[in-house]
Symmetry: C2
Subunit: 344 residues, 2 copies
């Protein structure tokens, strides 16, 4: 009915008028400034509540150059690890009075670039990024960095030096732990399906695998080391190649859980008994790994710790400026743990 609503979008001027005070005093009271009389402040707070006043973020941000908003770019929120990290970040930032704008790049570089522009346009106070697997050039973040906006990369971080903060899991150790575990259960012919080496994740996980093999003086059959997009289909194809030959692996270290699950499915369908004939480990501790049978051994990445560390570093950056060149030099590394289950 009443189409022209927009009734009382109350401003500090309305409060000022109602209380016969100046807008400056209202602003100060609302921002907990020191030099406001206790009584005045209470009056103002009461009147603000009564009028249903809510600060206009845009006006405030425009004036003060602070939005109290942090941007976040992830490949997909539906990936378990990222969902958990995001939840931790959001809840933690909320306590600090910051909001979070969550964006998905769909693992597409062009989307990531657009989102960086948009978030810059929104003048976020800081940016948190888990980049796409194809991102090797990071210049689309330059504008943010150059404007003094802290940028924190987590999980998937730039390979080359970049003027930002890095927080990553201990992927080398993860790869090492998974492979060593398989070796300790008596396996000798250990295959490895990993992602493209454009990402630090798979470089490191694979390096950990190679290191473990080397330390135990086990030969690596390079035909059994795959670097490909870690999809369901690719995993099955790799399996069919490996199990089509005269000699077959007795273990598989998959660099993510999707691959491990697909490989396990393939094994079941083709009469390869897990863990008797083939032992396996995945990576990330996706909820599915504990439900599938046999349950899959995997690597726990502690997304909650990653999230906590991100916010900790971020708040420090936001408060103290990011003059700690040291902190940027080396990445923060979050520990990982092996989870042993029925598949190994």
């Amino acid at each position: 009915m009443n189409k022209d609503k927009k009734p009382q979008e109350n401003t500090i001027l309305d409060i000022a008028e109602a209380l016969k005070l100046s807008p400056a005093t209202i602003s100060r009271a609302l921002n907990n400034h020191p030099h406001v009389k206790e009584k005045t402040k209470n009056d103002i707070l009461k009147m603000a509540a009564q009028l249903g006043y809510r600060r206009n973020q845009m006006a405030s941000g425009l004036r003060s150059n602070k939005t109290h908003t942090v941007g976040l770019i992830v490949p997909r929120i539906s990936m378990f690890f990222h969902a958990e990290v995001i939840t931790t970040i959001q809840n933690s930032l909320h306590k600090h009075g910051y909001n979070l704008i969550i964006c998905q790049s769909n693992d597409l570089l062009t989307m990531e670039q657009e989102l960086a522009e948009i978030l810059y346009s929104s003048r976020v106070d800081a940016l948190i990024v888990a980049c796409t697997l194809q991102t090797t050039d990071f210049s689309h973040f330059n504008r943010l960095v150059d404007s003094g906006i802290p940028v924190i990369f987590y999980d998937r971080v730039p390979l080359d030096p970049y003027n930002a903060t890095f927080i990553k899991g201990d992927d080398f150790r993860g790869g090492y732990l998974a492979t060593s575990h398989l070796i300790e259960t008596g396996c000798k012919r250990i295959a490895h399906i990993s992602g493209k080496l454009t990402s630090n994740l798979y470089q490191d996980r694979t390096a950990g695998y190679r290191k473990a093999m080397e330390l135990h003086q086990l030969p690596i059959n390079e035909d059994w080391v795959f670097h490909q997009e870690l999809t369901h289909e690719n995993a099955r194809e790799a399996m069919s190649i490996m199990f089509g030959g005269p000699v077959v692996p007795d273990a598989l270290f998959a660099a993510n859980d999707v691959t491990a699950i697909a490989a396990l499915e393939f094994a079941k369908e083709n009469g390869i008994v897990v863990p008797d004939a083939l032992k396996m480990t995945g990576y990330s501790n996706d909820p599915r790994t504990s439900i599938i049978s046999p349950s899959l051994s995997t690597i726990e990445q502690h997304p909650d710790l990653v999230g906590k560390k991100i916010v900790e570093v971020l708040m420090d950056l936001l408060k103290n400026g990011h003059e700690n060149a040291e902190l940027k030099a080396k990445p923060y590394v979050i520990p990982v743990d092996l989870i042993r289950r029925m598949s190994s």
Copy 2:
């Protein structure tokens, strides 16, 4: 090193100066206004690119009262259904030039209330909400609605009339389909674990269950109908109650997949063979249901269709105003489908 950066946060004034034009013309060109000479516009666009100009959203929003930003509140982004809906919404909104601020209420009413305030404070152009299971009072959304900001509820919607748009799954039909399916496979003693009746979801799913039972003239054992928080633990407890008695169910319709999975686990541990001794269906088609063995029958809610419909309605609301009182009267209902698997 160079601490005081903040170099050229270029504004339209810088472009104006460089081109000896007025800021008004720059603004018009950048916003695709009709009355700007083609050549002037091109010059401006070129110079804007050259200076790395990016519109300041806050200034723009403050002046025009449009943020091109939509707020979203969900219980948790890690729930599969919601993650899929969000992804669809975000990708679709992006194409329309809108941004999305995703927030999680953690299924807590107080958090939902705070988030509504914050998003109002951010002056979002619209708000999309899947409310918590405890939300029965919706007055925290009043401020948005009263200010003429479109509010769209999806999935979990208000039970009482409320001046907003509703988009929901066909939960009644979902419950009906699941139960009818169990009946058709020959089951007669069908148990049902559902959520608290404060939510439309469980009211409707349970109503569908009851309708199917009634139509097939099967008696409902009320001791086998549970309305509780749908956690893993509660599901196991319900199972142990049901299977501790002299007569046991031959089928279970669980109102969500977490419950179905927990119940299946319980069955496996206690020698209750699924589907021989007990047939089961879940709800939502969580990825885990297709991986567990035996795989679980469930209800597909088509999150992509839900997301698409939300954006479709939203864009209409944003463009044409929400004078269509009719549209608000009845909710949009998205169809659901039964997925038959090994558990039934």
